[in-house]
Amino acid sequence: MILLAPAGSPRAVEAALEAGADAVYVGLQGWSRGGARGELGSEQLADAVRRAAGQGAEIQVALNTIPKPPERAALEAEIPRLVALGIRTLIVNDIGILVSLRRRFPQLSLTASVGCGAQTAADVAFFREIGADAVVLPGTVGPDQAAECTAAGGITVEVMLHMVEEFVLLGRCGMPSYVHLKPTAMPGALAAGMRQTGSMKRGGVGTCFRICQEPWELTDRHGHREQQFFPSRQLSRLGDVPAYLAAGVGALKLQGRSLPPESLRPLVARYRLALDEAGAGAPVPAWSELALPTSWTAVGR
């Protein structure tokens, strides 16, 4: 089982690697969901790959927007350059892109992002059939359910153990774009391409307008009236690491490409230690769960 950490900047890559990540996932400028989640430019990515390789680790690239068809060709044109840099794993968010990349780049390992919405054994089997090498489940899927997902084999099951659980499930939220949809230029990727800011699936999650953090007025036909927030919580399953290990989960993934290095480093270090202890059959140390910054919400995720 590997520990897969996030990074949104070269300093965060360095922090994650130093803290013991086996792999680090980063966004490629223009082709991930950007915003407060940092993205790496080409040279930064090349440096990150070199640094990771020096430690026997891997850099994975998240291409987790869903570009329009004309932009998809430009995205696919980026892939040979990524391969030349030494990238071996891409994380994607759309079944069409996944299958297209599978056909064109059979040497690549392809991961179905948590945004693909998989959370059942049947979902995992679907992604295995279309050629994914790995699929990410949210941390709301417990070890027993994860065991059902790994049972079929033939695909690596990753679980995002440390994440913000919003009220609306990942991959199934259209609230921000309902309120506001703002096409914006894609940084550094394609002059004519537009990132659909406000869409959780098509890019621009960095400006999702805080829909789920606003106080709303809740009313019903009976005259009830309440102030209502959409409930959310930080999910951290550090204590379940041994159970996920026993369930055959292939990667423990941490959410947080927007985290500053000083927050990311201790987070990764704790999961590193938990994973090592679990691998050795030792009990996981009884830490209090590592709280994320209070500002670290859907916008910054």
Binding site: D94, V99, T120, V168, G174, S177, G198
Partner: protein, 323 residues
């Protein structure tokens, strides 16, 4: 000599119903097909998806009326919810349901593998955004696709043209915008004195300034009703044939009035008459709570409205606004 088929026979107007009580209370005359089930919550009152006997009865009722019965399935199923889904699918397959709608990609594979005779409609929450995605699903034998509601009409048209699978569009009703694993309405069960499953049937709205959403417990819908009635001629010209009135959270009266209005509008549009009737807007306004929008069809935020015929009806129900 048999009568020539009506030009309308090429089109389908369908709607959605959560349970047998609502089905029996609804005049479904305007519709060609009905989706059975509530996609959000297993605890929804007598949800078809938890009651195979009710599914069987509903299929019989619809078939007696000459309508197609479709089973829908949960927007975000979990493994512990798969046994009832399988039972509902078994009933649908054995009783002659015309198709099953799935929002989970795993269910696409499961239905293809275990219920090969049951045509598959892929719903909005499956997140089909591109022709490449449609191509993948075509390989699974999918018969119909509802593209992601976020797509503008030009991209929907491209999907319909290049994907090779018929497309279904919501033309009226509250767009589903999100699905959750928890229900915050349960927090109000005691203070409101309303138990589950009555809580989410109380026309629960969330409002902030001019933003509005509708809560159905584990589901979040648009607050305003999508209305494409004056744009039906364009949709037909683009080749679309399957139109949905999203009414799973609505009253039988809504289902009937909106369906009848669209039936008439569709008949007129099919005959090449693009003019909307003012009374259509009046009829739809009487059913809307917080006005109209076009969803994402015109490349704008989902709550905007483009058009003339009912644009002046943005907030048609003063009584509601005063609450």
């Amino acid at each position: 000599m048999p009568p020539l088929p009506s030009p309308l026979a090429r089109f389908e107007l369908n709607t959605s119903v959560s349970n047998l009580r609502h089905l029996r209370a609804s005049d479904l005359g305007p519709y060609d097909a009905v989706y059975l089930g509530n996609i959000y919550c297993r605890r929804y009152e007598a949800n078809f998806l938890e009651r195979p006997d009710d599914v069987a009865e509903a299929i019989r009722v619809l078939q007696d009326q000459g309508k197609r019965a479709y089973l829908t399935t949960y927007a975000a199923p979990r493994d512990d919810g798969m046994p009832p889904i399988r039972r509902a699918l078994e009933t649908a397959a054995s009783k002659g349901a015309a198709a099953v709608e799935v929002h989970s990609l795993g269910l696409v594979k499961l239905v293809r593998d275990e219920f090969p005779g049951l045509p598959i409609h892929v719903g909005n929450f499956a997140n089909v955004y591109t022709d490449a995605g449609v191509e993948v699903l075509k390989g699974f034998g999918v018969a119909r696709i509802t593209p992601s509601y976020e797509l503008p009409l030009d991209e929907v048209e491209a999907i319909a043209r290049d994907g090779g699978i018929p497309v279904e569009l919501v033309v009226h009703g509250k767009l589903p915008l999100g699905v959750s694993e928890s229900c915050f309405l349960l927090d109000h069960e005691t203070t409101w004195g309303l138990p589950c499953p009555d809580l989410c049937q109380g026309d629960v709205f969330l409002r902030k300034e001019d933003w509005s959403l509708k809560s159905v417990g584990k589901g979040i819908l648009a607050g305003r009703d999508v209305s494409m009635i004056e744009h039906l001629p364009r949709l037909i010209a683009q080749g679309h044939r399957h139109f949905r009135i999203e009414a799973v959270s609505e009253s039988p009266a809504y289902r009937h009035v909106v369906g009848a209005t669209y039936r008439e509008a569709l008949a007129r549009a099919v005959c090449g008459d693009p003019r909307p009737e003012p009374r259509w807007g009046e009829a739809l306004s009487a059913q809307a709570r917080l006005g109209f929008c076009n969803g994402f069809y015109f490349g704008r935020s989902g709550m905007d409205y483009a058009g003339a015929a009912i644009a002046g009806q943005a907030h048609p129900n003063p009584e509601w606004r005063e609450r």
